[in-house]
């Protein structure tokens, strides 16, 4: 009988299939085999949903240390660390006033590894803010925002704002004194358009400030409603927004032709052939890369060998992994040596003195100590608008992809350090020594006090210097170099004053040891 003869065979086959199942599962998951040939390396990248956001081959210029300093990858790595540690903190954190404080205390003192995870979360957030600012400076100084990358620069600015929003909402969650008064001050900065509507007498009919505060707090005072809103923003809305924007940001890098490089990058690399040359197309190009690898640009890589490129696996990926590990190492070292602060339980009737925001907001806090609307909303919005307009005003091509490229170059940047540092230091010194408007003219209209913030003067003087540079070099890029450098300097000066030289009642002190005793 044929059936009886087949039975042992089917069983044997079944047993053999069972035996090979683990290997076949691996083979079907990673269809390409080990990435040892160029072709397998290409399909390793485009066959993997997580890696295929990269091109299969990377230009040598992109892999030079000085091209990016790894700052973008460091920012992304810091975000990944905050993401993982943040989810871990959510196991114990309870977003309700007073209970929140106790749960943070538990995380810090009771939960095994809780202190390290909280410290890592806090330090990675700080590293992310620093890295994102430096990454922006790198993109600016190498003129990476120019065509076709204008829109990605805008996405980057949105990412900067969301990063700062995440940091701010995160500071509020422990419900300690720092948290409570940071919410209070933040919500009132949101309300500060009232300074203008009040002065115009239209607050009754048109009150955007009051509405903003109400939407943030969900109530007219800071309580459970406000905390749950900030929690929602911190763990859900802003991270989702950040992830979506990051996806666009990374995808655009590739679609805009990879990282920016100078027009003569290939010639430059060819002249310095110190790197071991790597044969391109070691086998017939059956399918080295997809059509998707064709990017917009003057010379699409169609019908040409991809000159001066190396397979992304391993060259790019190992470099990226290295930067990520370095970021993790820095965060870990900081977390081991420095604990995240936790002050006393929030006390709504006694503000801390001085009540200081996290360091990256102390520049803004220094400005709101003169007038809330201009310092907290007006000038920051003007700065963001100015940053966003840069790629649409500078349509030049000279110096793209070069550090401090463009008319003026490094000499102009160095020269801009002088007005950049001196203007805010002198204006602040003047305001600290001689007071500001209301001290001289007690009956001055509020609208003038609101509008004439020291930051208004600083911005105007910076703008004047920038316009002079545009004229002197006949180049918008020169003006942008001057202005960007000035604003970086202004940020550093104001932040330094806010962090180290302001004491109780926001009075100037040379050192915290001079602060009066309570």
């Amino acid at each position: 009988m044929p059936q009886t003869q087949q039975t042992p065979d089917a069983l044997k086959e079944f047993a053999a299939n069972l035996k090979h199942a683990p290997r076949r599962i691996l083979e079907t998951a990673f269809r390409t085999g080990p990435p040892v040939t160029d072709r397998a390396r290409s399909s390793f990248v485009f066959g993997n949903v997580f890696l295929h956001i990269h091109a299969v081959r990377t230009h040598r210029w992109s892999l030079r240390w000085t091209t990016t300093l790894g700052l973008g990858v460091a920012t992304a790595a810091a975000f990944l660390i905050t993401l993982v540690t943040g989810v871990m903190l959510m196991f114990y954190y309870k977003p309700y006033p007073d209970v929140a404080y106790q749960s943070i205390k538990d995380i810090h003192f009771v939960v095994p590894t809780g202190r390290l995870i909280r410290n890592l979360h806090r330090w990675a957030a700080n590293v992310m803010v620093i890295a994102v600012i430096l990454h922006m400076a790198r993109a600016f100084y190498t003129a990476a925002y120019r065509r076709p990358r204008e829109f990605n620069w805008l996405v980057g600015i949105a990412l900067l704002v969301v990063t700062l929003g995440l940091s701010f909402t995160g500071y509020l969650l422990p419900w300690d004194q720092l948290a409570y008064w940071a919410i209070t001050i933040g919500a009132n900065i949101a309300q500060s358009p009232r300074e203008v509507t009040d002065a115009l007498g239209i607050t009754e009919y048109f009150d955007p400030g009051g509405l903003q505060k109400l939407l943030l707090l969900g109530s007219d005072d800071v309580g459970a409603e406000a905390l749950i809103r900030f929690y929602l923003l911190h763990v859900m809305l802003l991270p989702l927004l950040l992830a979506a924007l990051m996806a666009v940001h990374f995808w655009r890098i590739r679609k805009d032709g990879g990282l920016v490089k100078p027009a003569d990058a290939d010639a430059w690399l060819a002249a310095r052939r110190e790197q071991e040359t790597y044969p391109v197309f070691t086998e017939a190009p059956v399918k080295t890369y997809h059509l998707a690898a064709i990017v917009r640009g003057r010379t699409p890589l169609v019908g040409k060998g991809p000159e001066n490129t190396v397979p992304s696996m391993p060259h790019l990926f190992y470099a990226e992994l290295g930067v990520m590990m370095l970021t993790l190492l820095v965060c870990l070292a900081l977390s081991i040596f420095s604990d995240a602060p936790l002050k006393e339980l929030a006390n709504p009737s006694l503000p801390e003195n001085p009540a200081k925001a996290p360091w990256y907001f102390l520049g803004v806090q220094e400005l709101v100590s003169y007038s809330a609307f201009m310092g907290g909303i007006g000038i920051p919005v003007i700065v963001l608008l100015g940053l966003g307009l840069i790629p649409y005003l500078d349509r030049e091509t000279e110096g793209t992809g070069e550090w401090f490229g463009g008319p003026g170059g490094w000499r102009l940047v160095r020269a801009s350090l002088a007005p950049g540092l001196c203007v805010p230091i002198l204006i602040e010194a003047f305001a600290i020594r001689f007071g500001w408007l209301r001290e001289w003219f007690p009956d001055i209209p509020q609208l003038v006090v609101t509008a004439v913030n020291p930051a208004t003067l600083i911005t105007l003087l910076y703008a004047a210097w920038s316009v002079w540079c545009v004229k002197r070099f006949q180049s918008a890029r020169a003006g942008a170099l001057a202005l960007f450098t000035c604003f970086l300097c202004g940020f550093v000066v104001l932040t330094t004053i806010g962090v180290w030289f302001r004491g109780p009642n926001w009075v100037f002190y040379w050192s915290p040891s001079d602060w009066p005793k309570h």
């Binding site: 008064w181 209070t184 001050i185 919500a187 009132n188 900065i189 500060s192 009232r194 300074e195 009040d198 002065a199 509405l211 109400l214 939407l215 969900g218 109530s219 007219d220 005072d221 309580g223 459970a224 409603e225 809103r229 709504p348 009737s349 006694l350 503000p351 801390e352 003195n353 001085p354 009540a355 806090q365 709101v368 100590s369 003169y370 007038s371 809330a372 007071g435 209301r438 001290e439 007690p442 509020q446 006090v449 609101t450 109780p504 009642n505 926001w506 009075v507």
Partner: protein, 144 residues
């Protein structure tokens, strides 16, 4: 009209209206019809020994209550700049956050505060005082 055009237009129109109405709902959602705030009115007994011009701050409240020959009055201690709690001093009030100073009647002496500290409605019965933190009265309103 070809069937495909009609389908395309109608699906676009429904999507646009769904987004619009969804957005309107979303905008209305975060502003509750009744705000979950505690009552703004509170009753407190003034200490007998309260000297003229000396501030009495009830525990847990952001109000300074004064008594002089003309009567009782209450001034909010929430800074009009960014909402910190000002401290009553001999000269008036001072804010710990950004250095605003106010005179004894709540008007701005120096600093970034845009408005005077508001005076609040009080009603007096014996030594008991009822303060309504939500009701602002003109500066100088004293109740005996």
């Amino acid at each position: 009209m070809p069937r495909r055009d009609w389908l395309g237009l109608s699906s676009l129109a429904t999507m646009a209206s769904a987004l619009l109405f969804g957005l309107i709902g979303l905008l209305r959602l975060p502003k509750a019809a009744v705000l979950p705030s505690p009552s703004k009115k509170f009753r407190v007994e003034l200490p007998q020994a309260l000297a003229q011009g000396e501030a009495f701050v009830p525990p847990g409240r952001s109000v300074a209550i004064f008594r002089d020959a003309e009567g009782v009055y209450a001034i909010s201690t929430v800074c009009t700049h960014l909402g910190c709690i000002v401290k009553p001093t001999a000269e008036g009030f001072e804010c710990p956050c950004h250095g605003s100073r106010f005179h004894g009647d709540g008007t701005v002496a120096r600093g970034p505060a845009p408005r005077p500290l508001p005076w609040l409605r009080v009603s007096v019965s014996g030594s008991n005082v009822l303060v309504d933190e939500a009701a602002v009265v003109p500066q100088g309103t004293k109740v005996s």
